[in-house]
């Protein structure tokens, strides 16, 4: 009999990749103060602890604020960038696209401290606002890439037809362009939201006195392990998985290479 070793290996590795995350989810319902084995009973205690802790609620709130504004900002800037790249034929389109997507290749650590020195240099006080700015900087390239692929095969005759029928620039955007690119924009926004909500490395340097959720996790991790970390992590995992699922649905990702 032919044994499909490669397939078995592939699924085994995948399983190993997800074991840690699955364990976290299991432990989050485990009635054990250490937050690890043995499994001693089912409890929702650790989830109730999140609700009663002002710190955690605020963390989620701050993360949500940052992620929302970053998603809005990055999707507007990124869409405009991709629009400009594709609307007209011009030289230097390739290099410009390369330059616009450069921040993806810069290590987050470098980007974080560079932004910190910049904000200090210019004299901007660190706050959630600087975090949002920083998140817009590193997530706009993703939007540019997504929207660029949307505009790549765009039929510009539609927009010209609207112009010939007497629509002004605003109307053309509102009634013609926007409805056509809306799915891609929503998908890009969801992705940015998911990335921004979890982002730590850059945030660490440019954050002011208010903490986002990853900052709280970081300080908890430095202090030692607490079972509440399990329930917080589970919520974060569910959040990013859901966002990603919806985004891929909206963007109709097909995994073709």
């Amino acid at each position: 009999m032919h044994i499909p070793w490669l397939k078995i290996y592939a699924f085994l590795i995948l399983f190993l990749l997800f074991v840690p995350l699955i364990l976290i989810v299991i432990f989050s319902f485990n009635d054990n103060l250490l937050g690890v084995f043995p499994l001693t009973g089912f409890t929702l205690k650790w989830y109730k602890d999140i609700l009663s802790g002002k710190l955690y609620i605020n963390g989620f709130k701050h993360s949500a604020i940052v992620a929302t504004f970053s998603a809005l900002g990055a999707s507007i800037l990124g869409t405009l960038g991709a629009y400009g790249l594709n609307r007209y034929r011009w030289r230097g389109k390739g290099p410009t696209l390369g330059f616009l997507t450069l921040p993806i290749l810069i290590p987050s650590l470098v980007l974080g401290i560079a932004l910190l020195s910049y904000f200090t240099f210019v004299g901007i006080k660190l706050s959630l606002g600087t975090v949002i700015l920083a998140h817009i900087v590193f997530s706009t390239p993703y939007v540019v890439l997504i929207m660029n692929s949307r505009f790549h095969n765009f039929d510009w005759a539609i927009e010209e037809a609207a112009r010939d029928l007497g629509a002004n620039a605003l109307e053309r955007f509102r009634y013609v362009l926007f409805p056509l690119i809306r799915p891609s924009m929503i998908g890009a926004m969801l992705l940015v939201f998911a990335i921004s909500f979890d982002e730590f490395v850059v945030t660490y340097f440019v954050i002011g006195p208010q903490s986002t959720m990853p900052m709280i996790i970081w300080s908890m991790l430095r202090r030692g392990i607490s079972p509440v970390l399990n329930s917080i992590s589970t919520i974060l995992l569910i959040l990013s998985f859901t966002l990603l699922f919806i985004a891929m649905r909206v963007l109709k990702v097909k995994f073709e290479f």
Binding site: K7, L17, P20, I136, F200, S240, F257
Partner: protein
């Protein structure tokens, strides 16, 4: 947009040439910071260790992920999409959460130690599992695994089936076909995955800070401390650009070497 991104890097570069007097950053041009990095054995040690850990992690990751990518590309029709989906899910799950998950597994009363002790194999917790270079390498490997799979899978999928068929028609067996056709053609993807992982792991500071212990600290941690406790921004900036220069030099040499080898074979 361009301003938003280029200005910080420029300011940062300028800082690396200024100096610290007392607790103030003085705009006086100097190369002192760079000299300090190059002369201090601690930084050199941390940089070599970071590159070492990066090289080990990148090699382990590529070796582990190649068969998976191969299986996806040539042995599966249905499972493929599921695996890709899982890879992307894993990429998008919070980095901190994944590091934390490994902490619960490798820790003193973590999953592995408890299993080992319950089975009677060891009497007390195995200490080197956590707060060690081992912990850093294991965690980084699992974190960057999806990043290496994707480029390898993508090049494997782009190998034309006719090429494999031609090799078989010319009498090559499965092993020979793999060695002479598939592997060389997939090298660009392997290299891309390797370099990505190397750069990202060698520059990481989260995993070493949380799981590295004193022997697992990397250059990223000392850069971060220059911006935190030590509060010597110019020195921190100088270390950063020094490391980036070392990397560029390494890639330059690596590129030349592969070209040489390519010409010879």
């Amino acid at each position: 947009m361009m301003l938003l991104f280029t200005a910080p890097i420029l300011v940062f570069l300028i800082y690396s040439f200024w100096q610290l007097e007392g607790f103030e950053i003085v705009p006086e041009w100097t190369l002192k910071n760079y000299a300090q990095v190059a002369r201090n054995p601690v930084y050199i040690k941390l940089i070599t260790r970071s590159i070492g850990i990066g090289l080990i992690t990148a090699s382990v990751t590529v070796v582990l992920s190649y068969p998976v990518a191969y299986a996806m590309a040539f042995r599966m029709k249905e499972g493929r999409e599921l695996i890709l989906l899982l890879m992307i899910l894993s990429l998008f799950s919070s980095y901190l959460v994944r590091v934390y998950a490994w902490k619960t597994i490798l820790g003193g009363n973590g999953v592995i130690n408890i299993l080992l002790m319950n089975s009677g194999l060891v009497q007390e917790p195995v200490r080197w599992l956590i707060y060690s270079r081992f912990a850093v390498i294991v965690t980084l490997t699992s974190v960057f695994f999806p990043i290496t799979i994707l480029p390898i899978y993508s090049v494997l999928m782009n190998i034309h089936p006719n090429l494999l068929e031609a090799a078989r028609d010319l009498g090559a067996g499965a092993a020979l076909t793999f060695l002479k056709v598939t592997l060389p053609l997939s090298m660009p993807g392997v290299m891309a995955g390797f370099i990505f992982t190397l750069v990202l792991t060698a520059g990481d500071y989260i995993t070493p800070a949380l799981l590295g212990g004193s022997n697992g600290q990397m250059i990223g941690n000392s850069i971060v401390s220059q911006f935190g406790i030590a509060s010597n921004w110019p020195l921190g900036a100088a270390i950063t650009f020094f490391v980036m220069a070392v990397f560029l030099a390494l890639f330059g040499v690596g590129g030349l070497l592969t070209k040489r080898l390519g010409v010879r074979s």
